[in-house]
Symmetry: C2
Subunit: 235 residues, 2 copies
């Protein structure tokens, strides 16, 4: 009998709205590895629920994965855990070279892509949060961004032009091959997809502005595992 795998998963006012870019990496990794799992909807202010997993210190963040007696925090650590714990299942990384590729993509998306997306959708996220999360979210994001959320997003149409330039390496690769990882998707694709699924699940604003090659890749990602990611609440 196998353990039940559970993930604490960031949710909005609608518990079916799941939108953390980091949790989406784990969703896709679990599907890739053909593992059964349950998701526990979690809100930003539910810090006590996951505090036991951060007994060593550090901010309490999702995803957190539990697998029987084992718990793992941080989406990258979770991917490495799944790879080691379930070696008989499809590989997430395509070897050590593939893992290094995924690691660069992780740093690329986190340092180049996440902030510009935040600046386009942060007000939409705020509107879709559970009431109990709104004050925390507004205060922390306005402090980080240095502006009221309404001002942050006011010029998002203009910013989008610059954002699309940042996506050039992604665009150029998915013009050449179906996935960042080649003919089949792997963890590097999930890391990058997480950013776009985050936007898609919190906002009606299409951050890709219809950009054809990247949108087509996103559609391929949404269609994986019988349309798993496409089935979640969006917009």
């Amino acid at each position: 009998m196998s353990n039940t795998i559970r993930m604490y998963d960031l949710a909005g006012a609608d518990p079916a709205r799941r939108f953390s870019p980091y949790c989406w990496r784990t969703h896709m990794a679990l599907k890739h590895k053909q593992l059964e799992f349950e998701c526990l909807p979690w809100r930003f202010t539910d810090t006590e629920a996951i505090a036991p997993f951060y007994a060593g210190g550090g901010p309490a963040l999702v995803p957190v994965l539990t697998d029987g007696e084992v718990s793992v925090t941080d989406s990258w650590n979770i991917a490495e855990y799944l790879e080691e714990a379930y070696p008989g299942k499809p590989g997430l990384f395509d070897g050590e070279a593939g893992k290094r590729h995924a690691r660069f993509l992780k740093h690329w998306v986190e340092t180049q892509v996440h902030l510009p997306i935040t600046r386009m959708i942060v007000l939409d996220i705020h509107e879709r949060l559970h009431e109990k999360d709104k004050a925390y979210f507004r205060a922390s994001r306005e402090k980080r961004l240095g502006q009221p959320l309404e001002e942050v997003v006011a010029d998002r149409q203009a910013r989008q032009v610059e954002f699309l330039k940042i996506l050039a390496p992604l665009r150029n690769v998915v013009k050449e091959q179906p996935y960042l990882s080649g003919e089949a998707p792997a963890y590097g694709d999930y890391v990058v997809f997480g950013a776009f699924q985050w936007a898609r699940c919190t906002s009606g604003f299409d951050v890709l502005a219809g950009d054809e090659p990247v949108s087509a890749w996103r559609e391929r990602m949404l269609g994986l595992f019988d349309g798993y990611a496409a089935g979640f609440v969006a917009g």
Copy 2:
């Protein structure tokens, strides 16, 4: 008896000044594969010298590699050629997954890194060119950049702050491991290094502004193959 491998290699007024970022990929690839080769200094206006290799059309660009009866244009094609033609020599890509990593890095450096470097060093390049190249270079670059070269570089100190943000994924990876490709360098490192060696070999302006992790990686790259890249005319 083996053929002599030759590369047409972009040079400045001083024929020992070699600075094309694309040619530097090939320099490093040839050293990595432990192959003997000769470099033929080439200038932008020496179009006739390499025109025969572009009989099928397209602009005449370096590097061009000849290996006996074989000729190959485009630095990526050259890397693939070397890998196939010399399978007994050290591998450039670390397998197909490593090749995909290098391919993303190629698109990343070409779309995100090259233009900001150009905007810092283009006037320095101009000053170091052979006299016969200067008019062509100024006209083509001023058309591309939409400004006189002097104006392009005027605010380079200010631009450098933004440039260092673009380097975050590179910085974060080389904080974690010695090379983009892991414990040992591979073609992906050479692709990115080409951009920094181009700047180093044409300008006294340190585009890295002393950034410690990236500068340390660049030093490791300069030290490879008994300090091969460090031995060229710089500044």
